[in-house]
Symmetry: C2
Subunit: 546 residues, 2 copies
């Protein structure tokens, strides 16, 4: 079954057949604001933290799999027929729809009812606002009267409040609409969001259950069906962002409409409405994003005998790694924001991929990982960098209900919870960073251990390698410990070929570093260790010429 | 708008119009297994703990508001038309449907397509199984070929796993079907559930996404639409409990079909299938539940000039309180299982209502509340009784991922998080228990404080009253502290009339107890305190004759 293809020239993945059986997601935003959206515009928006500052809501593992999202409805005001520009939530004939995931933007295209429509979602650099830019064209050969409606569901910001304690959360937020701008506030945080538009709206709804109607879903909103919003707003309830526009297009006539969903109150919405009211400003912001990615990608372009490998190397590997370093892997449709922080091995892997395109981001993650390293030489498998900041353990906001904070002693978990591979990846990440930047002085910087005390980066790395040398089983191969990369493969006391191979690899990186630093004695010692681990691998696992 | 009425004789609330705008829920089960189901059979099932042993899944604050549930679909195999016995999820003409919430059972009635159907949900005493009993009658005057399908969605047991970390949870559970019984297992706990039936099934599905089909919902399952299940099962994925039966009813013919959804593996399902295969056994179990409630309610029946007050006093107040004491208020559509444990004031209020009908349950909750009392005299606003059990702080199961446990020091929260009214309710609860049972010796039993140390129940109560006497503002009225019953009314340093009134009331209960125990000195001391609080109330709040 083929659902799409790479458009190499435009650096896009094009989904020609939009009923993909699992979500194909893209990440919008490269700074503070992030939208995770799939091939039907399902997904969510957050500011800085997907756990503590969610802006739009998403129902993980839902039915259907991808609700809700950042949707635009089109309605033929003559027939009453309506559809979604992004196929879902309304559905319809597959041939009418297409999705294009680009670098920090996604476009949903649809040709239906004599109307060509393209909805482009992206987040401009320098601003915390998601633009929903709609281009319409009347291809029907007759005048066409239409309504267009935006729809997104606001979140209660904190995932635990969003999911659990509705005696409180149904009264924790309020919405209003004035001067064409929707203002949403979570009272306990005085945090606000807005939706504005480039046009004077002909209708609005701030209450989800009013707009959708009872026992309905995003597939058949009552307001769209009847062709008129309810002008709903309230202190309390579940909130949404609906701004409606009615328009009539002459045959062949085109139009541009832009919605703006962002962080901040109505004042911020008014400022950004001015900034992006002109479609040329929207086009400029999209071109700026293209320049941003071009600058990064142009640092390394490969030409190999395999054009598919080139596509992977020259665009998508770096794009994914850069995004992971900005937002971590805890924001997706799989990790749906209930956890904040970093996975040890994933973060090390992501960081080692970007020293040439984002040395600052790479170093920031390396230092955070060193802070999450114990003096024993293993890393904390999952941790929140904030735990090691100025006020460790402090809850992110004062909840109206009593929530116990994690125990510091349980944050720094014991050997029982150590994964055998985690910290070995960091050795390679540090080496790759220094190779690319030449910043040999990093090895002599001092970083605190997660469980107290401090040491140089160089000493941290030695401890990682020594830890793996000590944690071997009866064949001399590294133990798998809690897990050995496959988190779900809990080996008990068993040994892991994968970890010993990784140990050899990390030792090689460190020996290079020791020699570059002129520390010949360490170089010789760890080279000898490397050879002894190779010997064990050859003896027990694989008689290969290393 | 009128949606229903009390059927006083049958002790039921009858919902004649089933499109109620908010969920009207009932609680099934009086022991270890509990189903929370609403007027359209939406809801969920859990065993002991709604956080740690969820059996069926529910989407809190969903769209629509009550998905999924414990549904039966009927399909006319001649026309292909299908509907739900409980109206939702399929919907349809309202006039065809009715719901009756009784004492620990709910009945969903429907007359449609020439078929009369009634789905009764209840949990027999002594067994951890929910019975879905379907009575059918062909009123069409012609032979009728039908299919019937059950549907419930299995949960990953632990609410945090159910909501958040799908990289793990999509691989944590498996399902299979053999000998007409569905077996579901969460691998990490070796915990299993089953669905069995009184009949030989003609089809089954264990995989939610197969049964429903892509981009569909519970409103239009693909298997029901096409009239045939997919025989789906898998290690991994999202699971459901579908057993299909095809049958042909002659004009006027009736049939009974029973599904059984319960705790335990296929062996347990086979045992219970034998037990409840005969409809007479199902009827017997329902009659046994009626006797159980009749025994409790008959302890106190009031006849007042107001028949509506009688309905409240003679059935529903006690029913609600008994259920709250069994399952706590942390299982509902509002508290959707993400928290485990007890709210201090709610539990005290519930306990004080049932000493005559359930003295053991009342005393159990009183002792748990005393264990959640600090030596300073305030209660822990929310707490898990397990925290004060043999292994405090121990996680309920070994997660495949690393989850920090709550800090003991933050469990026993400080004065900042104390609610001014919480523990005052307990004084009245203890007094009401002793008045009903005559168990004066309770006052001299010893109970540990939440923060260490121990004292007698009698001394605990004194400390509660002394705490409120000390925590007064500049008018001599009790401070509201973090909250004064209204959790969201955080008064800062302000005073609360409500808490001083409550203080007077609690003091009265204690003075009675001291005198009954012959402790005249205490009686006089606390009577003097009571009078001084009354004087402050009269002076500052309400010049009323107390």
């Amino acid at each position: 079954m083929k659902y799409g293809h790479f458009d190499v020239k435009r650096r896009e993945y094009v989904i020609d057949r939009v009923d993909v059986p699992v979500s194909w997601t893209n990440y919008l935003g490269v700074e503070e604001l992030c939208a995770v959206v799939n091939h039907t515009a399902g997904g969510y928006l957050f500011y800085q933290s997907p756990e503590h500052h969610r802006i739009t809501r998403f129902r993980p593992n839902g039915v259907p799999m991808d609700r809700p999202g950042h949707y635009l409805y089109l309605r033929d005001d003559e027939t009453g027929e309506y559809w979604s520009v992004s196929w879902q939530p309304c559905g319809g004939p597959l041939k009418d729809y297409r999705c294009r995931h680009g670098l920090s933007y996604s476009v949903y295209e649809c040709v239906r009812g004599g109307i060509r429509a393209a909805q482009t979602l992206f987040i401009p650099r320098g601003e915390s606002v998601e633009l929903w830019d709609l281009a319409l064209e009347n291809t029907s050969g007759r005048p066409h009267s239409l309504s267009v409606y935006s729809y997104a569901e606001f979140s209660y910001h904190q995932i635990p409040i969003d999911n659990q304690n509705f005696q409180m959360s149904l009264y924790c937020a309020g919405s209003s609409c004035a001067d064409g701008i929707i203002d949403y506030e979570l009272f306990y945080e005085h945090a606000r969001q807005f939706m504005a538009a480039s046009f004077e709206p002909d209708g609005f709804d701030c209450l989800r259950d009013s707009f959708l109607g009872p026992y309905r879903t995003e597939a058949n909103p009552l307001a769209v069906e009847r062709g008129e919003c309810f002008s709903s707003f309230e202190k309390g309830g579940s909130h949404c962002a609906v701004l409606q526009k009615k328009l009539t297009l002459a045959p062949g006539e085109a139009a541009r409409l832009t919605w703006m969903l962002g962080e901040g109150g109505a004042e911020e919405g008014a400022r950004l409405r001015e900034k992006y009211r002109d479609p040329a400003a929207v086009d400029g912001a999209l071109a700026d994003l293209a320049r941003y990615w071009d600058g990064k990608l142009s640092k390394l372009q490969a030409s190999t005998p395999d054009p598919d490998l080139d596509v992977m190397l020259n665009t998508w590997n770096l794009y994914q790694s850069e995004i992971n370093v900005i937002f971590s892997r805890f924001a997706s449709f799989i990790e749906v924001g209930g956890r904040t922080g970093l996975g040890y091995r994933d973060t090390a892997q992501d960081a080692m991929t970007i020293p040439h395109s984002n040395p600052e981001g790479c170093k920031k993650r390396i230092v955070q990982l060193l802070q999450g390293l114990t003096s024993m030489g293993y890393g904390l498998h999952l941790f929140d960098p904030a735990w090691f900041g100025p006020q460790p353990g402090k809850p992110a906001f004062k909840s109206p209900t009593v929530i116990p904070v994690p125990d510091k002693a349980s944050i720094v978990h014991g050997l029982d919870d150590a994964c055998a591979d985690d910290a070995l990846w960091l050795v390679a990440a540090v080496a790759e960073y220094v190779r690319e930047t030449g910043e040999l002085s990093l090895f002599d910087e001092t970083v605190r251990c997660a469980n107290g005390g401090e040491r140089t980066v160089y000493e941290h790395l030695k401890r990682i390698l020594d830890f793996s040398a000590a944690q071997v089983g009866r064949h001399g191969i590294c133990k798998g410990l809690r897990a050995d990369w496959n988190d779900c493969l809990n080996l008990g006391g068993g040994e892991s070929a994968m970890v010993s191979f990784l140990h050899v690899w990390a030792l090689g990186h460190f020996v290079d570093a020791a020699r570059a630093l002129g520390r010949e004695e360490d170089g010789a010692h760890y080279e000898a260790l490397r050879r002894s681990v190779i010997a064990a691998c050859q003896r027990e696992l694989w008689d290969w010429d290393w």
